[in-house]
Amino acid sequence: MDKIGTAGNRGKDVRSDCYVEFIPDNSGGRKIDIKSKVDALFGKSIRNLTEQILDLFEIDHASLLIEDAGALDFVLAARIEAAIKKIVQSDKEFLLPMLEQNKFIKAKDAFRFSRLYLPGNSPKLMLNAGIHKPNGIILDLEDSVAPAKKFEARFLIRNALRSLDFYGAERMVRINQIPKGLDEFRFLVPQHVDLILIPKCESAEDIHQVNEVINILRKEHQVDKQIWLMPIIESAKGVIKSYEIATAADNVVSLAIGLEDYTADLGTRRTNEGTESFFARSMVVNAARAAGIQPIDSVFSDVSDMEALATNVKTSKLLGFDGMGCIHPRQIKVIHDNFAPEDAEIEKAKKIVLAFQEAEAKGLGVVSLGSKMIDPPVVKRAQKTITMAINTGKLDENWMSGEG
């Protein structure tokens, strides 16, 4: 046999990752060669993990080379399993324990101001993603992963969903375009994934196909929780069909727009003013609002220009969006600060909420502020503003106890 299965990354700039070469053999036992940057402190533990994986896949004769640049166990395990499975067919999976905190369930209408894209085959960027407190993190299998690396990235993402603590961020995965992306669900559904982003979504049919696969897997793996969907509208056709997509199923919670592909589809390009995408953005906002779900804006790609980002976020908020993607952790705070309600908004919302409570306490059917009548949708919006203000740190949780 002269087959070699490889996975992972090597080179002098690689950190928190490893490179694995697997060559099966018919005799000669296991030849495990580990070259680790952290050998003095974790050499034994890496060898032990490697043996466990080989045991699971019942591989008794093989050469295994591991060049380790400080990879955590979940990364090592993903790389080793991917290298083996490039050669050996097996339905077994080597699964490390699922963190308890990864079993929490995110609400359908959870805040989704910010969601941080993480390239699906770069463990280094995943480790500390949660400490920057995005509302969600997106483990990306699509554009940020080279075609040759998509196979191994699935194992890495599966393991990250089990082993990595994202400190309360919603754990999202962007799959590849349907139908290719349908194969990826078996790596995600059993791992308590919260939300799936469906790229280049163009019809309700895409959503139905996705839900069919999800429901089969949910039954098979006894997953009770719902898995939320965020279709991404990235084409002229998608924009036209956006209401149909937004209402395709109950687990569609947001509608996102991806402007790079959309402008390419139109035959134009993105500008800072965004005139070319005004229609599409408004259409997506309208479709989402009509369906009662969240409209989410495209990413802003200049990571060094925080002022331009802030302007962009303000425009986005005015158009009616509820959130935006980020490609760098430093964008998160700017996005939160600018989506967060402004001081004047908060003050007004406080008055309305207090008036509403007073009316309720008095058993009045009508809420009024001064001489003005307040309609129920206005009260609802004010309550939402207060929650947002608390969540973004602009208002103390116990603000009411401080009011007259």
Binding site: R15, S16, K37, V38, D39, A40, L41, F42, G43, K44, S45, A69, G70, A71, L72, D73, L127, N128, I131, H132, D165, H328, P329, R330
Partner: protein
């Protein structure tokens, strides 16, 4: 027993042989670390506790000189460095000192030992104020016996060489202040000091602010000029007497050498003198600055130390924002200066920069042009055997560390695998500030930074007040005042044990490393006592 006591002559052959040993007579010091008390045949005192060792005796006195032996016209210029070294009497076993103001752009150290090698001189002790990767070429001379050992800070390849037990003598690492103290106390007697100077006159008055290769100041060479037997100034910008300002006084100088280029100032700037772009480190910097704000440390008239290192520099940016917002002004910044503190000085956010070394050319320019950008030396800032120094007057210092243990002891010299890869610099001296903060990631690659016990003890935990990591802040229980002030600050305050557990939950618990029994380097505390010894790495 004091450092200055003369070591009595050996009374018999065995005692004489013992004295020749790399190290001997191992004891447990007050920090519980095993250290030799004889190092390179000289007696050293084990660490006794912070502030416990009191020196007696008088400062070391170099030999007296007479003007009769120096030219009346003040011209001390000799043909070249080789000529100067011969005239200075270079011979086996001497101590040769250099400074590191050019950092990774030093051109002179290698030339000195090239000449020594050509002359067949052996067993030299090199006593730099710090070493840099550009001096990797000296390994050849450590191998062939031209250099017996390095006593100074060891960085990069030289640290690795030493860790692997390849150096003939035992290395001794000292802080910047400890280096001045060792010279002043006579613990290290310099035979020949070579001072690379961007500008000098023929008399030997020299400075670092003028000339094409300006590197800022020459403070690290001050003690060398004052106490060495022979002093050689090497310059590429020879100006007529008087060279003003005279940071180094020609009255201490024996010979002046003119070369084509004395150093590469563009290589003063290293990776550690740029603001970090890493989002994780920026977060740690932001949390550190917020801690200082909530603890009431940042206020009108406060002072801080901005060290090298991307995180420390970023904290300075956050401090500026706080000063600006509150219309406050800091009294002084202790630097390591580069363009960031310089901007603050020029914007009026701070009255003075007290500068020990310039880290970039903006720092050099500012020191040349701005009288409030003051050059300092390890004598004024750090020397522990003086009548005070200003390190303890600084309100807050931000330092790095390779490891910290659950008792807040910290290591700045070795990595967790035992390899010695960094010098001490001013780190130990800065610990005496009113508040010492170490902003550090909880783990690097997969290696947790908070350990049960540090691999090498460089700073006692009683002097380290706060650890700021991306996953939480730990305050030393000795600082109840800081704990009280930040109790309801909304900052993620945790215990150091919690932080350690958190890192180990992510990385796994590291195995205990096995090092050799053999010692390769001693770590000095600021008072000249031995706080720890570094063991050889099993390669």
């Amino acid at each position: 027993m004091t450092i200055n006591d003369k070591w009595p002559a050996p009374s018999n052959k065995k005692e004489k042989q013992d004295r020749m040993k790399k190290y001997d007579k191992i004891v447990k010091n007050a920090a519980g670390r095993e250290v030799p008390t004889i190092i390179n045949s000289e007696e050293h005192i084990p660490f006794m506790g912070v502030g416990k060792f009191k020196p007696t005796g008088r400062r070391y006195g170099p030999k007296l000189s007479s003007c009769a032996d120096y030219p009346d016209d003040g011209n001390k210029v000799v043909k070249d460095l080789r000529d100067a070294l011969i005239k200075a009497g270079l011979k086996d076993g001497m101590t040769i000192s250099t400074h590191h103001h050019f950092r990774n752009g030093d051109l002179i150290a290698k030339q000195i030992f090239d000449i020594a090698h050509e002359l067949g001189v052996k067993d030299l002790r090199w006593y730099p104020s710090a070493s840099f990767p550009c001096q990797e070429g000296l390994i050849e001379y450590l191998e062939d016996g031209t250099i017996n050992r390095i006593e100074g800070s060891m960085n990069g390849p030289l640290g690795r060489f030493t860790s692997e037990g390849k150096m003939k003598g035992m290395a001794i690492l000292r802080s910047h202040g400890g280096r001045y103290q060792a010279i002043q106390d006579g613990e290290v007697q310099i035979d020949i000091a070579i001072i690379a100077a961007p500008t000098s006159d023929p008399f030997g008055n020299a400075n670092g602010v003028e000339g094409d290769t300006a590197c800022g100041l020459l403070g690290f060479a001050l003690a060398d000029s004052q106490y060495a037997d022979k002093v050689i100034v090497v310059t590429d910008n020879l100006v007529p007497f008087p060279c003003i300002p005279w940071q180094i006084h020609g009255n201490y100088v024996d010979f002046v050498v003119k070369v084509d280029k004395v150093g590469l100032p563009e290589r003063i700037i290293s990776g550690t003198t740029q603001i970090t772009k890493s989002p994780d480190r920026l977060l740690i910097a932001e949390m550190t600055a917020q801690f200082c704000e909530k603890a009431g440390i940042v206020k009108d008239g406060f002072s801080y130390q901005a060290g090298a290192g991307g995180t420390a520099l970023s904290i300075g940016i956050y401090f500026s924002e706080m000063l600006r917002k509150n219309k406050w002004k800091a009294r002084f910044i202790r630097a390591g200066s580069n363009k960031y503190p310089v901007q603050m000085l020029e914007e009026g956010l701070v009255d003075y920069i007290l500068d020990g070394q310039t880290f970039d050319l903006e720092g050099v320019r500012s020191m040349r042009e701005n009288p409030n950008h003051v050059n300092t030396s390890p004598f004024t800032s750090y020397n522990y055997h003086g009548k005070g120094n200003f390190a303890s007057q600084v309100d807050v210092v931000i330092l790095g560390a390779t490891e910290v243990d659950v008792n807040f002891n910290a290591n700045v010299v070795t990595h967790s695998d035992g390899y010695m890869l960094h010098g001490i610099g001013g780190w130990q001296n800065c610990l005496f500030s009113k508040c010492t903060i170490l902003p550090i990631p909880l783990f690097r690659d997969r290696i947790p930074v908070i350990r049960d016990e540090v691999t090498t003890l460089c700073g006692p935990g009683e002097l380290i007040d706060v650890i700021v990591s991306e996953r939480g802040i730990a305050i030393n229980p000795l600082r109840q005042d800081l704990i009280d002030k930040t109790k309801n600050s909304g900052l993620p305050i945790k215990t150091i044990e919690d932080l350690k557990d958190e890192a180990e939950a992510i990385c796994g618990k590291p195995e205990k490393i096995v090092l050799s029994d053999e010692f390769v380097a001693a770590i000095k505390w600021v008072d000249g006592t031995v706080i720890d010894a570094v063991r050889k790495v099993n390669s």
